[in-house]
């Protein structure tokens, strides 16, 4: 559960799609209804994973995520691959090594078994690759038309090495901001595989488990200050949240942020901004400038980090936090929070 927002009154009468998009409305729901009843020291941090610091003298990361992607199969993956990658990546963003996962399946009556099997097979492949396992689970079936095909919830726990301390609170002016490759592919891959979307693209989701990448990053340097999985709301949203949590200003550069040509073209055509489109295999890291090269070298050796690059830096402390976007033509502007979903149900 991530997102943050200042306290506003929760004034909506009905739940809107934007309450689930990870933007301002999600923040309102979390802060004004969920925190209202469940608020506690750990939950209130609203990070990718909760960190339990003194669990029998061990540091444990714990996270959960639900997957409702539509369509269930998309170029580059399916809900099965996604539900494991998503939870693994949330753990990795806390600097944790994933240990075990749970899976809750909610399936619509009539869903074809061959598709279910394909989904489970894909999930199994990621578990194997990441040397993790589903150790508990649950299955429910809902009557036909009671829901849409299949929803999956996963949760995961991981352990954090004693000397690892990854949190936005460690971000400092001077930190370099690194990403492990090009952005906005997952959201567009899902969008372009929807039946109502009548044109073909060759964009493939970046959905991937990043635990090995993160392991190598924090193995190469103890100066990786913070990590964040750039999912819903894209890199813009997570950078804004990181700047607010760390009370710093951030500068990023248009000509350094990798965006594939077909992604850029489709975004221009549809009026979408790639900075705000979801990724499912992109980790954004804040690294002390002294160790940037070490970390980049380690990342480039991993199969999910070949295109890693620096996209910006933390410029100064600031009570409010802000992200400045420097354009190719030498102008700059502040990145704003997402006011409403660009694309619903992308994960």
């Amino acid at each position: 559960m991530t997102s943050s927002a200042k306290n506003n009154n929760f004034s909506d009468k009905n739940i809107l799609l934007s309450h689930g998009d990870g933007g301002i409305k999600t923040g309102e729901l979390i802060n004004n209804l969920i925190i209202k009843y469940f608020g506690n020291k750990i939950l209130n941090r609203l990070e990718d994973s909760a960190i339990i610091n003194d669990f029998h003298n061990e540091k444990i990361a714990y996270t959960t995520d639900s997957f409702v992607v539509k369509p269930v199969f998309f170029p580059g993956g399916n809900i099965g691959k996604l539900c494991i990658c998503g939870t693994i990546n949330d753990l990795a963003a806390a600097g944790a090594t994933p240990m075990a996962l749970s899976m809750g399946l909610i399936i619509e009556e009539g869903f074809e078994v061959k598709y279910l099997e394909k989904i489970l097979e894909s999930a199994g492949e990621v578990l194997k690759e990441t040397k993790t396992a589903i150790i508990t689970g649950d299955t429910k079936v809902v009557e036909k038309n009671g829901m849409d095909k299949i929803f999956i919830n996963t949760s995961g726990i991981g352990y954090i090495r004693r000397n690892t301390d990854i949190t936005p609170l460690n971000i400092k002016p001077g930190d370099k901001i690194i990403i492990n490759g090009s952005i906005a592919e997952h959201g567009l891959a899902v969008l372009s595989s929807r039946p109502e979307f009548n044109f073909k693209t060759n964009i493939i989701s970046d959905c991937a488990p990043l635990s090995s990448l993160v392991n190598e990053m924090i193995g190469s340097s103890d100066k990786v200050h913070a990590l964040r999985d750039a999912t819903r709301g894209g890199i813009a949203t997570i950078l804004i949240e990181m700047s607010e949590k760390s009370k710093t200003r951030i500068a990023i550069y248009e000509d350094r942020i990798p965006v594939k040509k077909e992604v850029r073209t489709l975004c221009e055509f549809l009026g979408l901004d790639p900075l705000y489109i979801a990724n499912e295999g992109k980790m954004v890291a804040f690294v002390d400038p002294a160790d940037t090269n070490k970390v980049l070298d380690a990342m480039k050796k991993n199969k999910y980090g070949k295109d890693s690059c620096i996209i910006g830096e933390v410029t100064e402390n600031s009570t409010e936090g802000a992200v400045f976007y420097n354009t190719k033509i030498g102008t700059k502007r502040i990145l704003d929070k997402l006011y409403s979903e660009q694309l619903p149900r992308i994960c």
Binding site: K13, A322, T327, I329, G330, R333, D336, Y339
Partner: protein
Amino acid sequence: MQNNIIALIEEIKRTANGLSQINIMEVCGTHTMAIGKNGLRQVLPQNINLISGPGCPVCVTSISDIDNIIELAENPCNYIFSFGDMLKIPGSKSSLYKKRSEGANIKVCYSPADAFDFAVKNPQKKIIFIAIGFETTAPLTAALIEKAYETKTNNFFIYNTHKIVPPAIEFLLNSSNKNNISAFLCPGHVCAVTGSRPFDFISKIYGKPAVISGFSAEDILKSILMILKQIKNNKPEVEIQYDWVVKENGNPIAIQYMDNIFDINDAIWRGIGNIKKSGLVLKNKFRNFDAKVSFALKDVLVPEPRLCSCGEILLGVKKPFECRLFGKSCKPDNPVGPCMVSSEGTCSAYFKYEKYKT
């Protein structure tokens, strides 16, 4: 920074040097967005002032139309198909987005053909497509109406809010005592359909320069330079910068479709009022496809919210920062006036891209 852009900016500065204040109005929401997104105002010399006109069709849709569409959505037999931008626009009581969360049949489509196909497949349901936009989208609507007429698809309707751009520009030129417009950046996509000719009056009658521009930062800067050169040489004309897309005669097939289906009539532009001969209405032969006629909906004059400056902003008299509501009670998630409602609205673009001066 790219060298060609640096050179272009330098040439603009040299050309603008010595000229008095130049107010260039863009009348296309996509230009408004591109100017904001690329921060173009930051690189232009002080005597060049870019002002945004009524270039966003969603923004100029009247509150009465929104209320009518919401009324249609309240009937569970009706299926509303709309482009995504329309959903958030507040009517006088609710919005389509809220109605959808309450169970109304409202579908977002990327192409009007989706609405038509749904109508063919579901003859017992009533399908209403929200037909919105300028000359860019009107030919698509026209083609569908022709198809619906030929196939007798009588459960397909449009709620028609189509408008055309040149009369609005003429209206702005006639209000020029208020806004002092020196030149126009004309809408590339609209002109791809209409061609440049319908815009010739800007230079021929009103003696103002106009350039039909593309949408990249470089296109817009080049167009600004073309305008400056016209001013400097005192030779106002309508030039095409976006010449790989826009031709003098436009797209004759698209124009033919519009001529076959629509008549021209007066239209209400939200925030501005009635502009003569600026609206497209279905010809009598096709009136049964007009949801307003078939569902007996009326235009009700709904006053604009108090203190809202959108009317003056759409005319280029005020900038968003000069509105007392801007960024305070009027924000993208809770828009008060029309310029904040659509992502391509002037206030929305300013809020998103120019809220903090750097």
